[in-house]
Symmetry: C2
Subunit: 389 residues, 2 copies
């Protein structure tokens, strides 16, 4: 008999998603339009490329400070003071991470104890759930409703409170919903969190894509900094996903432990990635803004095209790379519809259920492909819809 | 009263080392010779630099496959078949990681359950202990003795077995000891692990620095592949520490879960780092071998210089960047001696106790600095010794 190795129960409980099933079907079709991926097909700005190449030529590629280059931490603490009015100590309250992904894991694993309950407004970014499960904590889903524009209602949050409720996690702008929660909602959430003694994790990775401008950061509201962790990164804003640089800001007493966990996970973040991040902070606006405008244009185009399909509804997007339209009219499960769209229409999308069961009936469409591809995707979706209506 | 956030007990239990204390003292002295760092002051080979710059210019820096570029996994599975006679499936049994650091965490966290016991021959690389504690498991130290050349004795291992013993972890070549365990010892360890149903983790990051040639990989011994995880990386061999690329090879049934934990930790390894790894695999031998020879020369020089100090003993090094000489003759604790060496002699070293209490009386010296610095370091150490003898 083969030697059998038992798995830690918490790790065994981390589910795999349907994305593999979808990719397997997608790989069989050649001429697919990709409205599925959150992985932009864009090159980095020339300014960042140039700076990276200079570093490769001029310095040994050594480990950096475990917690990130001191200069990068200093620059980022300046930036959050300027753009969000939040004053922090770059040594004690900010950590450079391997993207927001590592930051989420390190913070959640540091804080959560077995049986703690985590409030997750849903549909949600899948990792909020996966990290909760990996910690042996309990996810408590707060359903968001299209009829309310996917804005959370405090009444519903209150109904889900128990003595074990410890944390609230959300993204703003929201992936997968493609929307920004208004500042008044953020203020309500702050009051709710303070009243109920909750820790707040806010994922602001899509901050720079919010329209007309970035939302208030919940940590800037009085009484919130001491209970809030802010997650930001370079991947989306500067199209440097593969360089893997993010950061997290949080209260010093907790960050002390997050740093040590981060050290045993990574030793240090990528040195070249951090050089890229420093370059990004110096990148001229005129190299970045046009790229962001292109994404907004693609998003509005896709939204308009989708709204022309009979029976489809969608909350207008004003942030991120995504749309989250309601296709329940087609009478199929999201997964079936998504697979059918690949096979019959040649369009890859993600079923809404990749973002929790509250996403049933929805699809997540992205605009990471080039404009021509998105135009073709809209044509194919409209043609498919005609056949099935 | 400030809002207080409780910490997960396992994470709270991860200790910080004395390294910070040492760095604080070191930062006060300007003209220090660094015999402390495992972070070589060497540039990457020109071939790798060139390939990296070409990639920066020619491809978007997108996320890769979560588990690593398929081509890189294929190339590494070819390599381990050729250099160690181990046949693996690159999809199911190999994962690209953020250095060996992430690989160790992901594997240990996937396997270990609360109360499991981990056999750690000591002195040991500190993370074997930190990861064990971070999993709520119990470290069981197996003392290695200078008088036996720091070779483990099966008799001692047996004495530490209990019904909860589950894992054995070691590095070969050994950091911090600077030595390679002979193949006969590796074979004994294999027999011991099979007989007692243990999982084996072997850290082979310094493999290419072993003299005269790399040791046998324990996974290549019959009956071992199904219970062994091999950790290797690019950081040391190619002087690309800051690119953060390693890999782990292990049984498919466990790697299935390691991959999913890895995904929630990282999303994917650095894209640019992986391009660097692919370039490294194609790097001409004549660009790499001279660098390795330089390290061997520096190590032998340092060893010879240390042996001239009266009362100091040292097992001759034959792998890694390190020496682990016995300075107990000076009648100081390792930490005190290390601090005194910084302040009085201007030489930074690490106390042996950074690698467990079995390191008391020893120092770890490294050869990551340039040859001229190492010569100066030897002079300063000899002068210091004269004063104290």
């Amino acid at each position: 008999m083969a030697f059998a190795i038992e798995i830690n129960q918490d790790v065994e409980n981390i589910p795999y998603s349907d994305r593999k099933k979808i990719k397997a079907v997608a790989d069989k079709r050649g001429d697919l339009v990709d409205l599925m991926s959150g992985n932009p097909d864009m090159e980095m700005p020339a300014f960042i490329k140039k700076k990276l190449k200079e570093k490769i030529d001029s310095v040994p590629m050594r480990y950096t400070d475990y917690y990130g280059l001191p200069e990068l931490r200093r620059r980022l603490s300046d930036r959050i003071r300027t753009d969000s009015g939040i004053l922090i100590d770059p040594q004690e309250e900010l950590l450079i991470t391997h993207g927001v992904q590592e930051a989420l894991y390190s913070v959640m694993r540091t804080i959560l104890r077995r049986g703690d309950e985590v409030l997750i407004p849903t549909p949600h970014y899948a990792n909020y759930l996966l990290n909760t499960l990996a910690c042996g904590a309990k996810p408590v889903f707060i359903p968001l409703e299209e009829k309310n524009g996917f804005i959370p209602r405090i009444k519903v949050l209150k109904e889900h409170l128990t003595p074990r409720t410890r944390m609230l996690i959300f993204s703003n702008p929201n992936n997968p919903l493609g929307i920004v929660w208004p500042d008044s909602t953020v203020e309500e959430l702050a009051r709710f969190s303070r009243t109920n003694n909750l820790i707040v994790l806010v994922d602001e990775i899509y901050r720079e894509f919010a329209q007309p401008e970035p939302p208030i950061s919940i940590a800037s509201i009085p009484g919130m900094k001491e209970r809030t962790f802010i997650f930001r990164g370079f991947s989306k804003t500067y199209f440097m996903m593969g360089l893997r640089v993010g950061y997290v800001i949080g209260p010093a007493s907790v960050m002390h432990h997050v740093r040590q966990l981060h050290y045993i996970l990574l030793l240090c973040p990528s040195t070249l990635g951090q050089f890229g991040a420093l370059a990004a902070l110096d990148c001229p606006e005129e190299e970045i803004k046009p790229l962001h405008w292109e994404f907004r244009k693609k998003l509005q185009f896709l939204f308009k095209g989708i709204m022309e399909i009979k029976g489809v509804t969608c909350v207008p997007p004003n942030g991120t790379f995504y749309l989250f339209p309601n296709f329940s009219h087609f009478g199929m499960s999201s997964l079936d519809l998504s697979l059918k769209l690949i096979e019959e229409a040649g369009v890859a999308t993600l079923p809404g259920t990749e973002f929790g069961s509250a996403g049933e009936g929805y699809l997540r469409l992205s605009v990471c492909a080039k404009m021509g591809q998105i135009e073709e995707g809209v044509r194919r979706l409209q043609k498919f819809a005609e056949k099935y209506s």
